[in-house]
């Protein structure tokens, strides 16, 4: 088999996942796109392992490790997404802007719960 077939397929899968990571808004869809990118890398690893006929089978062993790490990553990622949803009522990554850096240098305080009690407490004192 020509090596370009699996390599080109892996490239296209990776770029599809890249588009999904950049364009999706729901955090779980972003996790799906990350899975696509990881699968592209796994396909490359397996193809090059079969091509090189590695005696240690480094590519296939690394693919197994990557699959296990992807399972761990999806577990932790979903736990974080559920926690964010429970606290914010939304899993849109466009709305999670608490760590955003504003051009004028002020802190990003979208929800506004933190500064208001401070000013009210400072004013009578």
């Amino acid at each position: 088999m020509h090596l370009a077939y699996p390599a080109v397929l892996a490239v296209l899968l990776f770029c599809t996942g890249l588009y999904g990571v950049l364009a999706r808004r729901n955090a779980i869809l972003v996790l799906m796109s990350v899975e696509l990118m990881l699968n592209a890398v796994n396909l490359n690893l397996v193809a090059f392992d079969v091509w090189l006929r590695d005696t240690l089978h480094a590519g296939q062993a690394l693919t197994l490790f990557t699959i296990a790490i992807a399972a761990a990553e999806i577990g932790i990622g979903l736990a974080i997404v559920l926690l964010v949803y429970r606290n914010r009522g939304s899993s849109d990554i466009d709305r999670l802007r608490d760590l955003a850096e504003r051009p004028d240098g002020t802190d990003a305080t979208d929800h506004g719960a933190q500064p208001q009690p401070d000013t009210q407490a400072e004013a009578p004192a």
Partner: protein
């Protein structure tokens, strides 16, 4: 091996059966992947992801990596997609079409993805234009050979990976416990994740 291999019977114009099967399954896989990242129905995206991952498993089989293929079916299709569906349900994802599935920077993302795809395809095709995989010999990734190499040469990473999975398990449990029903560690988490912890000590000072 550039022209000699071409003269020895390899070529684009006379593809073998494995190449044709790989190409067809690859087209189906890529189409399912594109639908996964573009559909507006969130549950359908997860179901198309099943098709994509199954197609990649078939590609592993065509590359004679049997063990990886079945691991792919077991772990990705069996557990990761189920986890994703549970996540979609638990975050109350809309069942029908959701108009805000894509963010506003979709066109920038499309430009970046197409540019990356063009550059990478050009480089890969140019680099491996005259390289062929020899699939005729012994099976490369049978369960026997995979297990032998895994437990002869890769034992230490394998054990480290088990520790990592344990850490991920503990982390997921700690993260997903509801704040308030636990004792000390969850109380610490509750303080971290509370939205407005600042006014409480200030009232104590007064």
């Amino acid at each position: 091996m550039t022209l000699a291999a071409t003269a020895a019977g390899h070529g684009f114009l006379s593809p073998t059966g494995v190449e044709i099967a790989f190409l067809l399954v690859g087209i189906a896989t890529l189409g399912a992947a594109v639908v996964t990242v573009t559909t507006r129905q969130l549950v359908h995206a997860a179901l198309w992801l099943v098709v994509t991952l199954g197609g990649v498993a078939v590609e592993y089989l065509l590359l004679t990596a049997e063990f990886i293929a079945w691991v792919q079916v077991l772990i990705y299709v069996g557990s990761v997609v189920v986890l994703l569906l549970f996540g979609l349900m638990l975050t109350k994802a809309p069942i029908g079409r959701s108009p805000d599935a894509d963010s506003g920077n979709r066109w920038a993302a499309l430009i970046v993805a197409v540019a990356a795809a063009g550059a990478l395809v050009w480089v890969v095709v140019d680099a491996f234009r005259a390289t062929w995989i020899d699939l005729d010999g012994a099976v490369q990734g049978s369960t026997q050979s995979s297990g032998r190499t895994l437990f002869q040469y890769w034992v230490l990473p394998f054990e480290a990976l088990s520790v990592l999975l344990l850490a991920a398990l503990v982390g997921a449990i700690v993260l997903s416990r509801r704040a308030g029903e636990g004792k000390a560690p969850v109380a610490g988490l509750r303080n971290v994740f509370r939205t407005s912890p600042a006014p409480a000590p200030r009232e104590d000072q007064r």
